[in-house]
């Protein structure tokens, strides 16, 4: 019995998740106990319990069942996203919170998982190859549909996650470097367009060079270059036609330090919180930045600065270390898995976790623009936590079934 568990039960993921959830609960308690008597803490603890059960259940579902159901789940998720766009209640200017029996659920959290599973399921079909144009476009389409539905909410952060996750997935599926570059360069020019004409020209030039280096044939290079220019120029036009306040928001997004009391306020305060923590931190419930509520809704997207301020480099390093271990473990599961579906899905899950972790902590430390993305397992939010537990459960499942073809 014990040897069976040792062989097939993924203790590593279980330990990492539990450790991160506990750190998250401590930080949420600290950030909210004076605001609403730690009501958020109690709710999050409840969701952690529910999520834990879901995680264990998912880890025991037969792999074939998962693979078979993934397309169904994908279409359910798409349907839900459409329903929200039509009837969804608007919370903080974004239509993603689903009023379901009084519970706020965010379907885009689950759409990420179902999209990854659907992609993996499609690519792992025996007659499908990423190097065929038709199959490539179908697999890109699997990503594009939920991505645009989420962008229409509008939820920029989750859209970025979809985009970033696509890269390692295509890479793992065996896509050529040219395809990867073709997807990457339009982002580059779009950013260039937002920063100004000079940057735009530089980005176009770099893009052209990259496409040339990884070229396959003249036709595809021309198409990729055209798409890149079109996206860059349309961003440029969109920016010009925006209201001044919208432009201001974008410039604060790209350079928060310029307006420390306006749009960049959160980043400046977050950096002060983390920076003033020092090596050992200020101690539990003793972080002045946290307790004085300098950062609005710190328990959601800026939870990492509670860790940094109250538990210092020591605490923050442990959290980052756990995250790194989680990603490396997901990569290991993907590598040792004999099943193409679970291997690709593990890479997708690694991508989702990785994007969230890097953007969120990078944002808290002033390395990244402010994008509303929760930190996995730590940030307050039921649907986010449950979605993360589901992904952890999937990793456990893939580990247990790694020898299955």
């Amino acid at each position: 019995m014990f040897s069976y568990f040792k062989e097939y039960f993924d203790f590593r993921v279980l330990f990492i998740c539990l450790a991160l959830v506990i750190v998250g609960l401590i930080c949420i308690y600290s950030a909210t106990f004076d605001i609403n008597n730690a009501a958020n803490f109690h709710r999050q603890a409840l969701w952690a319990g529910i999520g834990f059960i879901i995680m264990i259940v998912i880890s025991f579902v037969p792999l074939r069942t998962l693979q078979r159901l993934s397309i169904t789940f994908y279409f359910i998720a798409i349907a839900t996203l459409v329903i929200i766009l039509v009837v969804g209640s608007t919370v903080k200017g974004s239509k993603s919170w689903f009023g379901l029996i009084g519970l706020g659920g965010q379907p885009s959290e689950f759409a990420k998982i179902t999209t990854v599973l659907a992609f993996a399921s499609y690519i792992s079909k025996t007659d499908v190859s990423i190097s065929k144009v038709k199959h490539l476009f179908i697999s890109l389409g699997i990503f594009a549909v939920p991505m645009f539905l989420i962008l229409a909410q509008p939820d920029l952060g989750t859209t970025i996650v979809f985009f970033v996750v696509l890269l390692p997935l295509l890479y793992w599926a065996g896509a050529s470097n040219f395809i990867l570059v073709s997807i990457l360069v339009p982002i580059l020019t779009a950013f260039g367009a937002l920063l100004g004409t000079t940057y735009f020209i530089i980005a176009v030039a770099i893009g052209a060079v990259l496409l040339y280096i990884f070229r396959e044939n003249k036709f595809t290079v021309a198409v990729a270059f055209g798409i890149m220019l079109a996206i860059g120029l349309s961003v440029q036009v969109m920016y010009e036609s925006m209201h001044v306040y919208q432009q201001k928001r974008i410039s604060a997004f790209l350079n928060p330090e310029a307006d420390p009391l306006g749009a960049g306020y959160n980043v400046v305060q977050s950096k002060i919180a983390i920076g003033s923590g020092g090596f050992f931190g200020k101690g539990f419930l003793k972080g002045t930045q946290t307790q004085l509520n300098y950062i609005p809704e710190q328990w959601t997207d800026f939870i990492f600065c509670v860790t940094g301020e109250e538990f210092g480099t020591l605490g923050a390093s442990i959290v980052l270390g756990l995250f790194a271990a989680l990603l490396l473990h997901a990569l290991r599961v993907a590598s040792i898995s004999r099943n193409r579906f679970s291997s690709l899905a593990a890479i997708g899950i690694m991508g989702i976790f990785g994007t969230h972790i890097v953007i969120n902590t990078g944002m808290s430390m002033g390395l990244m623009p402010v994008v509303g993305l929760p930190l996995p397992f730590l940030s307050y939010g039921g649907s986010s936590l449950v979605a993360n537990m589901i992904m952890a459960g999937l990793l456990m499942n893939f580990y247990a079934n790694r020898k299955e073809y």
């Binding site: 609403n36 065996g174 923590g277 390093s317 790194a324 099943n339 002033g366 390395l367």
Partner: protein
């Protein structure tokens, strides 16, 4: 994967491992850069950080009476605050000597606040006087963490007047805080009785936020960016009441000797003109700081001054209930105008004898109301029966709440068959229980407010109005006035039925032999009915209900005086004077001195043996 030869798993794994390691190396380096290399810079920044948000309390809405006189005002109050994190507990004794309060009180409040947040100021003493304030100000530099803020408190230009109706605010309780979410903070005042409570959402306004620069000790340096980022507080809405405060004050002056209540209502729209409950309290004691001593005293007073007798008492209405019995019997066709009985001064039911005060001889329904003949109604209720009594009781608004906008009220009780089954047991009660209901005695319980609404039905020829104290709400920001709609329910009484009852109660006041002649208003015809409710615990409660002028009524009234004796001698003159004052704007009659007992008593107590059997 292994089957797919084209994909070299190990090389791809190596590349991705390198990507992960590089990305995390950047994150770790950034973390060390912030926390170890820039620690001194950020540590200092966090210490002198700088921006603090101060909540600006909104000015609570005012209240005006129907003639636009300001009746509930707002004035400044100085509140001492302590920030637990920066307060030196060695200063506790010094601070309490300045404030002249027990150190334990301050300590308890600081500790309570500390459990919420050590860094936000706790209000420890409200509404300090100017002398204390100046002493505090002189010593403020010795007391880090201590400060004061200007809040608003209630002022009452009319003094102790309409206290129960207006209500008061109290500090929010922990339970309320849990329920209301983020709207309130600890220490906030919240309307907790009367209009202050029921119109809390309109009165309270919206909190403002001010961004100020402070140093690490929390001392004020100045406003941030000249206040450009501040969000000003928004004033609460004003209430425009239906109350006439001149009339209210006059009515209160007539009631000072009594325990009881008076409700004057406009029978056309249901607006309360005056609502008195005696004994009362001074609402000003709640506007600043309320010591627990005062609070305990008010709460334990046997006269219950905090209790709104106008809406919360549940006494039998006595003979004032007879119109309802008559209305039920006439409307249902059980009797008609020609129906007469002969009153010999008592009524025998089974082996019990129910007495009347007088021998009225042969009376019809109009005369029975006029003379308040008990024997007539003893017999009538047996014909009407319990079910019809209940049906008509509900039609006239009894045994349910009136929906008045001041919140606290009793729904009262009209006993039904189920009620008797429950109290006495099935088949353990007889029709004999019914007899005393015929003259408004027994288990019937009504509030003075219900009675005013009931008599207004006869005033306005058949409409059950919705009593209310607020006519409209004024938004001072937009100057928009919203008039509140009130529902009116038709009682559906036949024209002839209404005419007969109105004639009966007109005669009560205007004709010789009526019991309500002391309510008479010279020059104006009015109608009314007296009542004397038996009370097993002491002297009778006196009732009077009425309205005036008879043809186009402008005021309907109910007066109830606890243990005062006869309705005709005690309650009727008060009702008459209040109506006279309202209709003429002044009192024309001389205040009537207590009258000798020549006025006929309208009801007698049931014999004690019967009472025992109830």
């Amino acid at each position: 994967m292994i089957t797919d030869d084209k994909i070299d798993v190990s090389s791809r794994r190596r590349i991705l491992t390198i990507v992960i390691i590089v990305v995390f190396a950047i994150l770790f380096l950034r973390l060390y850069h912030l926390q170890l290399l820039s620690y001194s810079e950020f540590g200092k920044k966090s210490e002198e950080n700088s921006v603090r948000v101060v909540i600006k309390e909104p000015v609570r809405g005012y209240m005006f009476d129907r003639n636009d006189r300001l009746v509930v005002d707002v004035g400044p109050a100085y509140t001492v605050t302590v920030t637990p994190a920066s307060f030196d507990t060695n200063n506790l004794v010094f601070l309490s000597s300045l404030m002249q309060v027990d150190p334990a009180v301050i300590k308890e409040r600081i500790n309570r606040g500390r459990t919420y947040s050590r860094f936000s100021p706790v209000r420890i003493l409200r509404d300090i006087d100017f002398k204390t304030l100046s002493k505090l100000e002189e010593n403020l530099y010795l007391l880090p963490g201590v400060n004061y803020e200007v809040e608003s408190k209630r002022l009452y230009p009319f003094g102790k007047c309409a206290s129960h109706l207006l209500g008061y605010c109290k500090e929010i309780t922990d339970e309320q805080l849990k329920q209301t979410g983020t709207v309130y903070q600890q220490g906030d005042l919240v309307g907790s009785s009367g209009l202050e409570a029921s119109y809390e959402t309109f009165l309270r306004g919206e909190k403002g936020y001010e961004f100020i620069s402070v140093n690490s000790k929390g001392q004020l340096l100045g406003s941030l960016e000249e206040g450009r980022r501040d969000i000003p507080s928004k004033e609460g809405f004003d209430l425009i009441l239906s109350i006439d405060f001149g009339l209210q004050a006059f009515a209160e002056s007539l009631m000072t000797k009594y325990r009881g209540a008076l409700v004057a209502i406009d029978p056309n729209d249901g607006g309360i003109l005056a609502m008195v409950s005696k004994p009362d309290f001074d609402p000003a004691i709640f506007s600043g700081v309320t010591s627990s001593k005062v609070w305990t005293k008010l709460n334990t007073d046997p006269d219950k001054p905090l209790f709104n007798r106008a809406t919360m008492t549940r006494y039998p209405p006595g003979s004032t209930f007879k119109m309802l019995i008559a209305a039920a019997a006439l409307e249902e066709g059980i009797i008609n105008e020609r129906y007469r009985i002969t009153c010999r001064g008592s009524f025998r039911f089974g082996n019990r004898i129910f007495k009347d005060v007088h021998v009225h001889g042969s009376v019809n329904v109009v005369q029975a109301i006029q003379k308040s003949c008990d024997v007539f109604f003893y017999q009538l209720i047996l014909k009407v029966g319990l079910d019809k009594l209940n049906e008509y009781g509900r039609r006239f608004g009894f045994s349910k709440s009136t929906g008045i906008d001041i919140g606290e009220e009793t729904s009262g009780l009209i006993p039904s068959a189920e009620y008797y089954d429950r109290v006495y047991g099935k088949d353990k009660w007889t029709q004999g229980n019914l007899v005393s209901l015929g003259i408004g005695q027994g288990e019937i319980g009504v509030s003075p407010l219900q009675m005013a609404r009931y008599v207004a039905v006869f005033a306005n020829n058949g409409t059950l109005i919705q009593p209310h104290a607020v006519n409209s709400i004024r938004n001072k920001r937009t100057n928009r006035i919203d008039i509140i709609d009130h529902k009116e329910i038709p009682v559906w009484l036949n024209y002839d039925v209404m005419r007969m009852i109105r004639e009966g109660i007109r005669r009560v006041v205007e004709e010789p032999g009526g019991t309500g002649s002391l309510a008479r208003i010279s020059g104006i015809v009015s109608a009314g009915k007296t009542g004397t409710a038996q009370n097993p615990h002491g002297a009778d409660h006196a009732w009077y209900v009425g309205f005036a002028p008879f043809d186009q009524p402008r005021i309907a009234i109910a007066v109830m005086l606890e243990n005062a004796g006869y309705g005709g001698t005690k309650a009727a003159p008060i009702a008459g004077m209040v109506m006279e004052k309202y209709l003429f704007g002044e009192l024309r009659r001389k205040v009537i001195k207590p009258v000798s007992a020549v006025i006929p008593r309208d009801t007698i107590l049931l014999k004690t043996t019967e009472k025992g059997e109830h």
